[in-house]
Symmetry: C3
Subunit: 345 residues, 3 copies
Amino acid sequence: MQLAKIVEKLGGTLVGDGSLDIKGLGSLADAQVGDLSFLANPRYTSAVASTLASAVLLAKDWKGECPCAAVYVENPDRAFAEAALLLSPPPVGFAPGVHPTAVIAPDAKLGEGVTIGPHVVIQPGAVVGDRSVLVANCYVGHEAVIGSDCRLYAHVSIRERCVLGNRVIIHDGSVVGSDGFGYTPDKHGVWHKVLQLGIVEVGDDVEIGANAAIDRARFGKTRVGNGVKIDNLVQIAHNVQIGDHAVMASQVGISGSTWIGRHVQLGGQAGLAGHLHVGDGAVVGAQAGVTKDVEAGSFVSGYPAMDHRKATKAHAHLMRLPELKERIKKLEDLVTALQQREDKA
Amino acid sequence: MQLAKIVEKLGGTLVGDGSLDIKGLGSLADAQVGDLSFLANPRYTSAVASTLASAVLLAKDWKGECPCAAVYVENPDRAFAEAALLLSPPPVGFAPGVHPTAVIAPDAKLGEGVTIGPHVVIQPGAVVGDRSVLVANCYVGHEAVIGSDCRLYAHVSIRERCVLGNRVIIHDGSVVGSDGFGYTPDKHGVWHKVLQLGIVEVGDDVEIGANAAIDRARFGKTRVGNGVKIDNLVQIAHNVQIGDHAVMASQVGISGSTWIGRHVQLGGQAGLAGHLHVGDGAVVGAQAGVTKDVEAGSFVSGYPAMDHRKATKAHAHLMRLPELKERIKKLEDLVTALQQREDKA
Amino acid sequence: MQLAKIVEKLGGTLVGDGSLDIKGLGSLADAQVGDLSFLANPRYTSAVASTLASAVLLAKDWKGECPCAAVYVENPDRAFAEAALLLSPPPVGFAPGVHPTAVIAPDAKLGEGVTIGPHVVIQPGAVVGDRSVLVANCYVGHEAVIGSDCRLYAHVSIRERCVLGNRVIIHDGSVVGSDGFGYTPDKHGVWHKVLQLGIVEVGDDVEIGANAAIDRARFGKTRVGNGVKIDNLVQIAHNVQIGDHAVMASQVGISGSTWIGRHVQLGGQAGLAGHLHVGDGAVVGAQAGVTKDVEAGSFVSGYPAMDHRKATKAHAHLMRLPELKERIKKLEDLVTALQQREDKA
């Protein structure tokens, strides 16, 4: 697409050759000749000079030099997203219909306009809401309920009696409703399974990444609130409660019965012990090990997790521990010398 | 179900209205009007006053006030489990039979009363024991052996020649027998695959969570002992040996050839280096990084993992490091002042 | 197989009974009577005396005693690998052909000699190169391209438009091309999905373990270079770039847009923040938390990751913090006493 045409659609001021044919998109470092790129994060300022891109979207007030065509816009990040839609192939769609290889129990209920892809299995009593798409090889257990306008990618399992809201997206291989990890030891240390009789209830507008696992409750419900976003390979144990609009990055692990407030943010690989309370709006840093309740609105990190500023300071000091030890050694020598002088005096 | 009827079945002393209709179950915080709840963990004592539950199971010697019907029992936890069975829908069952969409090699051997669900694939030479259930979309590789009374949920892979004992439960998406991670670099730093010729052997009464991965041995066997319980998203590398009745929480990672003793407990997200020996009954804390052998019966935590009490103390001090540094600074000033006074004297 | 025959094929010097019938293979600790074992890692020297193996491969210059037949060879590790090939059943093969239960779009292109196993789904516009094997229940999305001589084990998902090179191996349950984790919050803290319009491009000779997840780019490409080896349960976020011949152990997590150089090695459970640059040949220790760029050729570990030697020293001191604190306390008392003496004088 001609650069001038893109600028016409996005708005903004073009400095350079509008007749350029833009073929693709890329970050400053990644872009090739013929690509459009953008500068949104100041971290990448120095990458402008060396980019191979043929045109770059820049903030209106940007003062630097640009080695190629420059387009000055209000918000380069948003403009790039719009340009991407102009230049990218449209997202893949799935035509409604039930594939003949799908195995659907006679008493399962399918809404209007659903897409049930190849090799999907839907067990007795299950419900799939209007316009929901089960891409391929998905499993929907007995009496499970999937809302409307959901999309389940390949190899997703929704286990028996679990409930998904509307507009839920689940990426390939994720599992909703596996048994909680519950055993009681006998006097020989042999573990006996505690039946996991509850379900998982997922709210509206939730997105779950690939190969995540959310366990069903021992009794009652493991609950994922509305608007929650869960990244790949996240573990959510039985009876966890997650408030609306919480987000958690990849490989987070939440132990049983922990309560996560609304708008909480959990960094990648963070681990939370069981039976904790994480207040609304709290932020937990990546790789943090949370061993006690977290106050609403606070920011904790480190292991064991503490106030983030304290943790950062403490870890900075950790690196200087060998030096501190030297200073203590020197002080000891000095004090000993002083004592000896005193004793002599 | 009427509360009086539940109390009749569980035993215990009822204080309150036995004619109440109990409709569901929930934790103290989670329960709704009409639900039965319980107090087992003293941590939740304060939740009794604010619960919406219509009845609560309490320990015989509990002295607090209860805002609703109270049932005093020997063991509230166990009583609640029994009540749950009375009130929950029965666990889902799978009728014996082979689904017509399953693809089963002619020379595979199926025991009596097996359930082979839709889209299951069983390769040549494989064996499935009596009454085992393969729920749907499972893969059983060439010459793999599955014992009796096993249950494999959707999308489980048992790779070629691996062996499962009896009464093994594996949740959705887990993989038994993927290749170990073994390569040798050449002089250009190019990695060449080392063939992984061994298998995985899983004992009796093992349960494996969702989306876990257990690698086959380079040679010989990766071994999971009897009664071992493995949570979701756990990684077990090639040639690991796991003793009977060990348990490991979610997202644990065990590197190659490490030996885990009987009754060992590994906390969530703990990581163990390769070629280590973890003695019988040892406990490894959540998120611990284990870099050397762990003695039988010991409890280690932290990174690098050390005696748990030492680790806890060390980490508590870590937080106070900035304060320690201030104290050192102050000492240095005082000592300098003392020296100057001495020198003048 | 007779021991003498094995020695004939491997080369080396036999001390012991060549007529022994060798039935299997195992590590020194694992081997049974009738097995062949080997000593390559000096760590295991003491295990020779107690092995049950009937024969052991030893280095030419090994001086210790051997309780069974000994075979002295140039390289015991390599000799054992060769012996394993002699004694192991051959790796499983898959005959070319398209299974009748596979669902393949009419316009998908299949190369010569491909194996498309049971219940595989191949969407419109997809391409599978010559001799590639899709074992079973795999999903290949719209317009995805799989090179030649690849092997995809059961339940692998290659999402729309993603591209794999030649000789790529992917183990069971892994996902290539799930959506990146991208949302923008509105003023109410509600997260709105940012379309993930890019793809994943995987080079030649890459191996990916079980249940890993590699996200597609927001725009452009998430890129995995040639010869890269990725272990089980690894997370690679959108727009990550991985240089040729990098290796990463299980449960590693790499955040969005991070750039990993050639021949980089990442230890198990290491986590890398987003938008970082990890230079060629760098090594990141297991469980490290990398929060800033890593120089080429350096070795970092710990949290936050720092020079490995410094980190090791700092962590060793961490354990001795309570003792340091005692020393500070004692110094304070001494200095106070000295001051009082001075003041009196």
